[in-house]
Structures are given as structure tokens and as C-alpha cells.
Symmetry: C2
Subunit: 216 residues, 2 copies
């Protein structure tokens, strides 16, 4: 355990903002990027099922194509690493089985011994469509990863821009995600702010603490 100073957390969360203009010349160093990928992998999820994949776009040509799929916003091109947060299509028995095998691989034991846990997950995922939409559930999990990613990046001094205003179907097409079994949920550009980004200097807008936090 190696906790940080509380003021550092607030300083960095205040420092971050949705970066509009990245400096295309500044790239995230490889070892720093590996840490952020590791942070993504460590994101917690419902049952630990990790119904996601993170596509990291560094190729200039693909990044350019994603500008068109992002309502013309330039962040995918100008940032250093553009991350596409994708959900598994239809998380189900095959994914549960794979997860149980991974548990055994890491913790030992047998998948048989985990049968009860497996059944709980299968029942959860197989609930009727009126009550439960598996892709909405997966999207929620991916947003935990998005929150973790932006906070982790801010703490490392790396800028991000969450991008919901994209065309997910076009992203899927540009990246060929459907054939891989994934669907774009949201994207997040990462890199370093341009000196010319006027949004860096304007004050952050949040409601007052007493309006959004209530103690009971």
C-alpha cells in the first residue's frame, strides 16, 4: 500500500478537463502508456466478467478515418492514443465459461467447484429481455473503465477527452469490430493539451457540493 496525498488527488482532478485541442507532436511515452493499459485491465466489473475490449488507435490513417466517425471532431487524430471502449456482443455462456477457466488458472481449484457461481452469472445474464438488456449492462461496465481511465490519466499528468458524440456504428465499421464480436460504446482520446487550447484555462463548471451530495 502506497497511498497518495489527498491534495494531490484533488489537484489532478481539477487539472483535468475535456481537452479540445491536443498537441499532435507530443506522444505519450511507451512505458507510461503501458501503465494506463494496465490500469484499464485492472478496472473492476460486475462479477468480474470484464465484458469489454479496449482498442488503442495509434495508426495515423485509422485515426483520420475516426475523425469522420466523430462528427468531425479532431481529437482522435491529434491525440497521442485514441481509446475505443467496446463491449462484447451478447455476453453469455461462452464468456462465463472462459471467465471460470481464468479464475481456475489464477487461483487454482476446478471449474466444477465454481459451478454455483457460474450458475448465478448465467441466471443473471439470461433474464428476460423486458427486465434486462445485456448490452446495456456491458456498457455500464465499460463506463466504469472510462471513469477509471480518465482519473488514472489525470493522476499521471496525461490529458483526456471523453467522446460520446461519436457514431458508434461508423467506429465499428472503420475498426472492423463486428467481426471481432465487439461494439463501440464510447471513446476517449489521450495525450497532451495544445498550448493553444483555450478550454484549458476556463474554470470548470460543477454544481455546488451541497447540491449533488446529500448525507443521510
Amino acid at each position: 500500500m502506497k497511498a497518495i496525498d489527498p491534495q494531490t488527488l484533488i489537484t489532478q482532478l481539477q487539472w483535468r478537463y475535456a481537452t479540445k485541442a491536443f498537441d499532435p507532436a507530443k506522444k505519450i511515452p511507451a512505458d507510461m502508456w503501458e501503465v494506463l493499459e494496465e490500469a484499464l485491465v485492472l478496472t473492476p466489473s460486475s462479477f468480474g466478467l470484464q465484458p469489454w475490449k479496449f482498442f488503442v488507435i495509434m495508426d495515423a490513417k485509422i485515426k483520420e478515418n475516426l475523425v469522420g466517425a466523430s462528427m468531425g471532431q479532431k481529437q482522435p487524430l491529434e491525440c497521442s492514443h485514441h481509446v475505443v471502449f467496446a463491449i462484447q456482443k451478447n455476453t453469455g455462456p461462452a464468456e462465463v465459461e472462459k471467465y471460470l477457466k481464468r479464475i481456475v488458472e489464477i487461483r487454482g481449484g476446478t471449474t466444477q467447484a465454481l459451478g454455483g457461481f457460474g450458475k448465478v452469472m448465467l441466471n443473471f445474464l439470461a433474464r428476460p429481455k423486458e427486465q434486462f438488456n445485456v448490452e446495456e449492462w456491458a456498457a455500464l461496465q465499460v463506463y466504469i473503465a472510462l471513469g477509471n481511465f480518465m482519473t488514472s490519466a489525470a493522476l499521471l499528468g496525461i490529458d483526456t477527452c471523453p467522446m460520446e458524440g461519436i457514431n458508434p456504428a461508423q467506429y465499428d465499421e472503420v475498426l472492423g469490430l463486428s467481426a471481432k464480436g465487439y461494439k463501440t460504446a464510447v471513446a476517449c482520446a489521450a495525450g497532451y493539451r495544445s498550448d493553444s487550447d483555450k478550454y484549458a484555462a476556463i474554470p470548470k463548471v460543477r454544481f455546488k457540493l451541497e447540491e449533488v451530495v446529500e448525507r443521510l
Copy 2:
């Protein structure tokens, strides 16, 4: 800017786990908790609309009632601060108006000058029900806050347990959220792990990096 050492981030994300047993005798110090509330407030959201409220439960009687609404899980009672992540019911014109006023309060200018931005948000929120569900959108935003919260807490050496396996309608009833205009999306217990929690010692299960991260 006051970035942290990358290894510290990974150490703390490895240290965190979904805490099953909290030590009921250990409370998060008030000044530390204030930092976590501030971190929640600083969470980014779609358009900056913050369609949420965070209810922090510290009252022993209410915490006990939430055990029943959490399928009998003890974390709401045994933790130090139990956070209920609630979404606004039906984010719409009133919330957009309130947000524009807040922007003016912080940045100056007039709400008239922000009319274009206001219209973009109103159009976004008013899309037909077949295409867009405003409460699903709000829930996604709240999960960014959940991800930010768990990472922030881990960095401060505070344990958390995300709780999706709760009965949101019962939570709403226990907390009287409906009359306040909110709906429970998810909860997260925060505090300090009990020495007896055997889950603290077992290895974390994540898929291999090359299975969940793909560079393009």
C-alpha cells in the same frame, strides 16, 4: 500539476478489491471523506450535465435497512460511508436551464449567449424513445462517477465494494428518493477492510492484457 509516480497507480489499483467484510470500528476521517466527496463532484459527464446525486449514508439505522435492500449483504452496514449513486429522473429542459445558469455563475456571460449550446443539449435529450433512453444515458454517466470514486479511494488507501446486486426500488423507498426526483442506479460501500476478510488475500482475476487490449 502534481502527477504521481506510475508505479503508485498500479500498486493501488492492485491493492484494491471488492471488499466483502469491512471493519465496522474503522471510520474514514472527516477530512479524508470530504476529499472523496470533492472527487465525486469533479467527475466528468456528458455535456457536463451531471445528471446525478450522491447520497452518503452514515446513519446506522438507515444502513441496517439497506442490508435488506442489498440481498442481505452486510457491506452497507459494516462500511464507514455507504454511497448511493442516483440518477435524476427524466433530465430535461429544467436541468439544462439550471446548468446554463451555473455556467454563467462560474464563467460570466449570459444564458442567451449559451443558447446554441442549450439547444444542442435539449435536442440530444429530446430524441425519440426508440433511439434514446434518458435514464440509461444518466446511468452511464453515474458509472463514470463510480469508476472515478473507486480509483480515487484506492489511491487514498480506502477500500470500496461496488454493489450492483441491490434492489434499486427498495433503496429508493428506504431513502425516499422518488419524492426528491432521483432513482438509485448503483451503490458503493467505502471504509476499511476487516482483518478477517479472506478475499483480501486471494489473487485478483483479470484476463491477460493481450486479450482485452488491442492496438491498431
